[in-house]
Symmetry: C2
């Protein structure tokens, strides 16, 4: 298919990640002929600016994918489970940002800088990893390839935008009320569908997504299982604690890694800095380290606070920050699509 | 000395911790005869309500401690270094909340639930540990005593009040401006005396206190060295990453512990719940875990999210939250003073 005949759909076009998809499609000159914005009936009819054009959001329906070759899904797992197979049946390749298909054996889970070769065996759906997984995976893979990673303990500081645009509004609303000394209400966080909601203003919540087995949340299991799949390292040992913080955008993570062999801080910085998509900002003597307020809206994943872990033979501590809507979601999805185009993989046996 | 003849001084009476000292002295019916509030010339003359009485803050001077038997210091390390020896020379016992004397061999560093026996050998100054250390130490000591702790990796989520009342105001001011879309300024955090300041509104800062050796901050080293001293465990292995979050009050910490022998989650909860000063709030199936907004202004240290660490033979993960102005500072100080009184230790060879 010619690059200029590409019809692209964005499902969940009015969400936080969907909006970023649209921004990036324009910013990166993604070669689409027609762009179809799809969303729930609630958002259908809304006008959205994409570059210089104004597009009308259409209601997502089973027949929405006629003539579409590429569809970005970012509207939650249940929408993906229902509509992604329909898009594939209609001939589209789906890049899915939800958790619906990530752990399916016949669906590649791809971070383009790490496992681009997995795109080759896609059967119509390619899964985009979870945001906190992608941000951890980039610097971790650099260490894994160079030195071998034995074990990872990670604690996250996750922005509310990971829970969508409504969670961002909830944080703003709560802060405005709290600053005026008024009572606040919580309806979205930690998880919209969970029975209990807690304030995020002036608070941290040690729950991201629903609870799953062994006392871990789904988000914590995602970091474990998705990283193993991306790295093709089924035995990689990872323990995660995922925490929501009152930040609008960009996740941060405090990481402890045990390696197969010792490494100096200078070498570790160099190894991570050579990884595409990673920037090292690490000059403690000048108080230089990455923080969410600096990294939001940018593409790389940033590493700082690299230290030898004095409690083990071959351990490292570091801090990583990345915009979870960009590299953690939409950017990674677009990069997948760009690779599919380059490699002529934007088709599949129906 | 009779309990009713006790003259007490509070140095730094107008700071965040000083105010809490005053509140707790009243709340706990601490048996003082006279209360002397001391502060810098800037705050001298201010009137402060203590219980039903209104007291005038006096300027801290070398002769401020005449006739004082007990002095709480909470005005920073340099004030303690200058004035605590003068208070001791005047006959007072000093409970010092600063870092000035904590690691001195002739100064006990005490968490009353853990090492009350160390009070016996004081020589006039008793040091109150750092807030994040106390909050970690309570549940960790329970595990250490019952099972033996080999190694600890901790990442903190520290409230701005750890940096004083001005940092709390800075967070509020920044949020008000940011919510109106106005530019914000940063003058206090991460460390007032450091060259660079960063916003804390909608941000997290991976620096608490100044940087020290090996890329760790002083705050991170405090957690290591103070815990070892309190536990009388000079070889205890601890690695800390200390992070400031936009919370007004109560620190949280994500903790990974390697133990001498395995323990079930149920046993671990019981061991920690039996520790005085610790409450276990841990029912993931009901989304019950401690958070700063619930724990601020209360005395205990709260533990939740207890899980077996699947990456090691005998490992545990847990989450701990405590009001760092209360148990993390003023309450621990008052508890030290109460023990000194009970044990007749409120005197020393001059």
């Amino acid at each position: 298919m010619g690059r200029n005949s590409l019809n692209v759909a964005v499902v969940g076009a009015t969400g936080a990640v969907g909006e970023e998809f649209l921004k990036l499609l324009v910013e990166r000159n993604f070669p689409f002929k027609r762009l179809k914005l799809l969303a729930s009936p609630r958002s259908a009819g809304r006008k959205v600016k994409v570059g210089d054009e104004e597009l009308v959001v259409e209601e997502l329906r089973p027949d929405s994918f006629d003539g579409i070759q590429l569809a970005f899904f970012s509207a939650g797992a249940s929408v993906s489970r229902e509509f992604a197979p329909l898009a594939v049946a209609a001939g589209a390749v789906v890049v899915d940002n939800s958790s619906a298909f990530r752990m399916q054996d016949d669906v590649p889970l791809v971070v383009p800088e790490i496992n681009p070769e997995d795109l080759k065996w896609h059967k119509g759906i390619i899964a985009n990893p979870n945001c906190s997984t992608i941000i951890l995976a980039l610097p971790l893979y650099a260490l894994h390839r160079a030195l071998g990673v034995r074990r990872v303990v990670v604690s996250t500081y996750q922005a509310v935008s990971g829970a969508g645009a409504r969670a961002m509004q909830e944080l703003r609303d709560q802060l405005e009320h709290a600053l005026r000394g008024e009572p606040i209400t919580a309806e979205i966080l930690p998880v919209a569908s969970a029975p209990r909601h807690y304030p995020i203003a002036f608070n941290v919540i040690p729950q991201v997504d629903l609870f799953a087995e062994d006392g871990f949340t789904r988000e914590e299991w995602k970091m474990v299982r998705e990283t193993r799949k991306i790295f093709h390292a089924p035995d990689l040992k990872i323990a995660a604690t995922c925490v929501r913080v009152p930040v609008l955008r960009s996740h941060a993570e405090s990481v402890q890694v045990e390696l197969e062999r010792p490494v100096t801080v200078v070498e570790a910085r160099e190894i991570m800095a050579r990884m595409p998509g990673v920037e090292v900002w690490d000059r403690p003597e000048e108080q230089i380290y990455p923080m969410p307020y600096q990294t939001s809206g940018t593409d790389p994943v940033y590493v700082g606070r690299v230290r030898r872990d004095p409690t083990v033979e071959a351990g490292l501590l570091f801090w990583v920050v990345g915009d979870q809507i960009r590299k953690g979601a939409a950017l990674n999805g677009i990069q997948i699509a760009e690779l599919l185009l380059q490699q002529g993989l934007l088709s599949h046996a129906r």
